[in-house]
Symmetry: C2
Subunit: 347 residues, 2 copies
């Protein structure tokens, strides 16, 4: 089977995904009978490409490395907007990797809507659309008989959505608790070593962990978007990040950290979703955790999610020391599930 992709948003994740496609090409053909071609690449500031045949991903990488721009790639170079590329591309799958807009999830929602309308499957690593418009997008996907997948939106490529869908079938999710924002977790870990909040935040910016605007991390907006995405998909919450009961960590002082430690606890920034009658309550706040918490060892840039269910009790999945390839892998993992679905539904 050949699957043709349009990649909208081509930063670190997109480029890493392209390298992964090249690296795993033989494996994909041999083990999955899957030949993947990229027909379009859209970047925000480095030009775009649109073709009716497979782009040369090595050449794309060379252009970006050497010239910082795609305009020299060849006649596939185009000035079309992302939406026009989606509308004019003959791809089977649109991969949405633009950056998060926390206010309304745009323009990613429009990109995804247009692709689904055109009967493309969609994979996104952008949490905005899932936090703001999951129900609408999912029902659009169903009506067009295509799949919408988004493993990369929470905890990089750690299996969460796919884990629940594929390996916890028939379980009802009753509660979710997670450490979902790396920047704030890193800041809290550094503060516990004696650094000030400002110092630690500067370090996250130097390490490129933080969002461009670190207040999105420290005020809990990133974690709020993630717990909303989780609650929408796994618990049918139908919520938005604005509805999360949100308390940030920007006001925490060294005294708070020391006082927590003197009680044998650690302060962690915990996101929660809990069923309350017909509703799902979501919150994000600093909490004092004891050493028997599964989150006790989740320091630095690590993250974790506890999933409580009716049949399977309490599972926790930890992602320790995340590596660059993980969000890119989420896209590949989603792509393989889409290929399986197509194979199963087109026979």
């Amino acid at each position: 089977m050949i699957l043709r992709l349009a990649i909208i948003g081509y930063g670190n994740v997109g480029r890493e995904f392209a390298r992964m496609l090249t690296r795993k090409r033989e494996w994909l053909i041999k083990n999955k009978g899957l030949d993947i071609e990229v027909l379009a690449i859209s970047t925000r500031s480095k030009g775009s490409l649109l073709s009716d045949r497979a782009l040369d991903l090595g050449k794309v990488e060379d252009e970006l490395e050497r010239n910082g721009h795609l305009r020299g790639y060849g006649r596939e170079s185009t000035d079309l907007s992302p939406l026009d590329i989606i509308d004019n591309c003959d791809a089977d799958v649109m991969v949405e990797l633009t950056t998060l807009d926390i206010r309304a999830g745009q323009p990613a929602i429009d990109h995804i809507s247009n692709a689904l309308q055109s009967k493309m499957h969609v994979i996104t690593a952008n949490k905005g659309p899932i936090a703001f418009a999951y129900d609408k997008l999912e029902s659009l996907a169903r009506s067009r008989n295509v799949k919408l997948r988004f493993e990369g939106t929470v905890m990089d490529g750690t299996p969460i959505f796919n884990l629940v869908e594929k390996t916890l079938q028939g379980c009802e999710i009753t509660r979710l608790e997670g450490i979902l924002n790396s920047t704030s977790n890193y800041v809290l870990t550094e503060m516990s070593k004696g650094r000030t909040l400002d110092d630690a935040v500067k370090e996250t910016q130097r390490l490129s962990i933080a969002e461009a605007d670190p207040s999105l991390d420290l005020d809990g907006w990133d974690a709020a978007a993630k717990i909303t995405a989780l609650a929408n998909v796994l618990m049918g919450a139908g919520s938005t990040p604005q509805k999360v009961d949100r308390k940030g960590i920007a006001d925490l002082s060294q005294d708070d950290i020391a006082s927590a430690r003197s009680e044998g606890t650690k302060i962690k920034f915990v996101a929660r979703a809990e069923r309350n009658g017909p509703n799902v309550l979501t919150s994000v706040a600093p909490e004092r955790l004891r050493s028997d918490s599964p989150f006790w060892s989740v320091d630095g840039t690590s993250s974790a999610l506890t999933i409580s269910t009716d049949l399977m009790g309490e599972l926790t999945i930890l992602e320790t020391r995340p590596v660059l390839t993980q969000t890119a892998y989420a896209v590949l993992s989603d792509l393989l599930l889409i290929a399986e679905w197509i194979r199963c539904n087109s026979l």
Copy 2:
């Protein structure tokens, strides 16, 4: 789709699985179009049933509750051996839930071989066959075009095998580390509270956590069987429990526990599998872990596994406070994947 089962071994897990089938019956029909019938039940000492129509699971439970035996169930009652039941039953799926034999994995291996030969799919929660004969059984299943599934063999129903197969496709597993034996972990936890080893072992027997012969837990045989099953399936080890470098915890004293604590560490019973050239080295031994270990909070009957991969870094999955339904759920989860596979391969 109707799936007809033969259940060989009908202790706590089998009975809980039957209750779960009843409880989730409507959900299965409505959401999965799946009607599950049990045609045969084989117990070791409480009689067996064989029928060409669905057994009444409520009536089975009543008989076992009231009379402790199935001989009064009706004309479906039979004296046939497990192997004869498998050979004479018109089931689509054989569910193997007999108890572990740590020396050679029998008679479960024969049960599974016979069922696969007869083109039945097989689900087992018995780690013996996967630890002793995985390669042979898996290739038999392939040759008969049926599936062999075994999620319940390690960490109850916690998704491990299904997680890797479904959500980590294309990742190479480079290392596994786990706390896989509840009894020894419980004993170590109790010892760290000041109890003696003997006392703690008696408590596990009272709580029915331990194997009938607790030395299987304390000498590391149970953990050895589990790490072998994991290494065989996920890393192609082709090994047996006898090849595990195995050191038990029966010799640990209060002094060892205290000395570990004085260094800020905890003693945990860790199973490992690691690639070494073309081989996979497996071991089970007590180790001192620091508080940054993802296993730090894994106390009592909880368990955990860290999976190291090429593309997805390090993932850890924790099962905290296991509940009775979990191994039964593993069987249901496997059954749903088999149903999906049949649907996809028979269209």
